[in-house]
Symmetry: C2
Subunit: 148 residues, 2 copies
DNA sequence: AATAAATACTTGCATGATGCAAATAAAAGG
DNA sequence: CCTTTTATTTGCATCATGCAAGTATTTATT
C-alpha cells in the first residue's frame, strides 16, 4: 500500500478549501465554524445546544458564544424547551434557512463540477467508496470515538 | 444523486477528528496547525517560508509566528538561503523528524484500523477512488484554485 | 420532603490564532 | 541609480478557545 495518509491529506486539504470558499452569501460573511453550526442545526431534529456542540465536537462554552453571535445575526433562534427548562432548542430563522440552503447549493455545485471530470461509472464508484469509508470509520473503535 | 455534500461532510468531519487525535507525541503536544506545518515541511524539498505558507493556505504573518514557536520548540530549523538573502529555508530538526514520523505512523495505524473493516478489493476501490477524486479536484477550475 | 449530585447553559478570564497595515531588507527591472 | 517587487517580521486589534466558576434546573438518594 502506497502512502495512504498522503492521499487522505490531499483530499481533506482540498475539500477544506472548497468549504472555505462557500462561506459568503449575499452581504453575509460566515466563518467556517459558523457555517458548520448552521449545517448541523439544519440537519438535526430540534436539537439542544449540547447536542449540536457534541455533533461538532466543540467545547460548549465556545459554542454558546458562537450561538449568541448567530442569534444576533438573525440566523439562529433559541427556543426554551418547556419539558426541561435548562434546555434551549436551536433552529434556523427563515434567513438562516436561506443562507444554509445557498451554501449547500454552492458546495454541491462545486462538487458537481469536480464530478463532471468523471464518467458516470467512476462517479458511482467514488460515492460508493465514500459511503463505505464512512461506515468503516463509524465501526472503528480507534478514531472518532466520542461522537456519532 | 443523493446528498453528496452530506457524504463528504461526514467523511471530512471524521477524518478531522482522527487528525486531531494525532497531535501528541511523548511529552510534546502540538496543535493541528503545527502538525500540518511539520507535515508539509517534511514533504517539500527545502521549502522557503512562503512556499510552505502557500501550501497550507495560511497567511504568511500567522505562519511566521507559528514557525517562531516551532523553532523555539526545537522542531523546525530556519536556514538562511545564500542565493537570496531574503529567504529562509525550512527543515525539520532531528526531534522534528521524530515527532513527524511518529504522528505519521499513528495516523496510518488509525487508517489501517479503519481499512481493516474492508475486504482487500474494497480497500483498493476506496484508495483508487480517492486518487481519482484528488485528480479531479486538481483539474477543477472552481475549487482549490489558488493552490497546487 | 430535604439534600446531594448531575446536567444545561452562561460568563470571567487568560491565552493563542488570525490577518491587515506597515516596516525592513534584499533582489530585480528599467 | 531609482523604482518596483518579493520575503519576512512586527504592531495592533479582533476573534476563537477552553478551563474554572457561577446560575438554574432536574434527577437521584436517603
Amino acid at each position: 500500500m502506497e502512502n495512504v495518509r498522503e492521499l487522505f491529506h490531499t483530499m481533506t486539504k482540498r475539500l477544506g478549501l472548497l468549504d472555505r470558499n462557500c462561506c459568503a452569501v449575499g452581504g453575509i460573511e460566515l466563518s467556517l465554524v459558523q457555517s458548520h453550526i448552521l449545517y448541523e442545526i439544519d440537519r438535526m431534529n430540534e436539537p439542544s445546544m449540547q447536542q449540536v456542540a457534541d455533533a461538532i465536537a466543540m467545547d460548549i462554552t465556545t459554542f454558546s458564544r458562537q450561538i449568541q453571535t448567530l442569534v444576533k445575526m438573525n440566523l439562529v433562534k433559541k427556543t426554551p424547551y418547556p419539558q426541561d427548562r435548562r434546555v434551549y432548542i436551536l433552529s434556523l430563522t427563515p434567513e438562516g434557512k436561506y443562507v444554509t440552503a445557498k451554501i449547500d447549493a454552492e458546495v454541491n455545485e462545486y462538487l458537481g463540477e469536480v464530478f463532471s471530470h468523471m464518467s458516470e461509472f467512476e462517479r458511482e464508484t467514488v460515492l460508493h467508496s465514500i459511503r463505505l469509508l464512512n461506515e468503516c470509520m463509524a465501526k472503528s473503535s480507534v478514531c472518532c470515538k466520542p461522537l456519532f
